[in-house]
Amino acid sequence: MLVITFFAWGIFVVKPIPVVLAVDDNVSVPIENPLPPYAYLSNGHLKIDISNQSPLHPGFGEGLSPDTVYVFNDVFEIYNNETETGESVICVTISSPTPVIGLFMSPYDGNWSQSIEFEVPANQSVQVGMRFDTTGLSLGYYDQNITIQAFGGSCG
């Protein structure tokens, strides 16, 4: 009986983490808001699109040229809706796998990073800007993913 209890306890400790992960926070707790025109919601998910395939493309300005740096304030925001997150503060990390896509908290002060971390208090939002450096890219479509992670509670 002792052995069984221990086994059950083992499950008790290990199990909660995967169960929490299995809850699809992705759908039930939206924290990402696009701030048009270079970002929009695609099937409920934030998408940054600077091409004539964007539904917000106004009919001019087809993209970015090679060997150019563009910096955009306020591309999207992270919002901590406390009634949905249940957290008085969340810690958010946004990362890009490449220096082609730089990130910063708006407004731009000359500093950017491939990975930024910030806290969002209850019912407040933080605007995120993006810096695109197309040096060395060739003509055509450039597709990449950025990763957004959020935890309940303060950072660090």
Partner: protein
């Protein structure tokens, strides 16, 4: 005995799920989000550089090139039409070319920008905005470009002191910020 063990096991597992579900309002969020960018030639991008004369063209890499030599593809296109075209500028001359290229503001968010144009490289080339009215030209220009508008940039070449066969090479740097230029 086994049934009983299984019963305890199921009960504990059931409690675990119930407890976590009730506290799972927000624990962790991770998502990959798409970034989709069209890399396009200079003349169709958000802030675009458009050749307005055969002296300027967009090269295979999509970049604006100003070329007054036989290396310019437009030169050979004219040659093929049996048109006699000049192969460059001669020493000790001053050439003024109006609207060599245009800079347009095709940003989607309908904002005004101040474009700073900076030339670096061999001397002898200076630039001016709009029609030529005898203005001196400069190697640094600040021009306000309203949404949808195009400003035209002209070029003055002063080959004084240059020898035949000598080349002039330089780079134009474009740097724009939000808002009208300050005087």
């Amino acid at each position: 005995m086994m049934k009983k063990i299984l019963g305890i096991f199921m009960l504990i597992a059931g409690i675990v799920i119930a407890v976590t579900a009730s506290s799972a309002s927000f624990a962790y969020f991770e998502a990959d989000r798409e970034v989709h960018i069209a890399i396009v030639p200079d003349d169709v991008e958000l802030i675009d550089l458009v050749p307005l004369q055969p002296y300027a063209y967009i090269n295979d890499n999509g970049m604006l090139v100003i070329d007054l030599s036989a290396a310019n593809g437009n030169y050979w296109a004219l040659v093929q039409q049996n048109i006699t075209v000049g192969q460059g500028v001669s020493p000790d001359s001053i050439y003024v070319f109006e609207h060599v290229f245009g800079v347009s503001n095709h940003l989607w968010e309908n904002v005004t920008i101040c474009m700073h144009i900076d030339y670096s490289g061999s001397g002898a080339i200076i630039f001016f905005e709009g029609p030529y009215t005898g203005q001196p030209g400069t190697d640094e220009l600040d021009v306000t470009i309203y949404p949808g508008e195009t400003v035209e940039i002209g070029m003055i070449i002063d080959s004084d002191g240059l020898d035949a066969g000598q080349g002039i090479d330089g780079t134009l740097n474009f740097d724009a910020v939000l808002g009208e230029c300050e005087d």
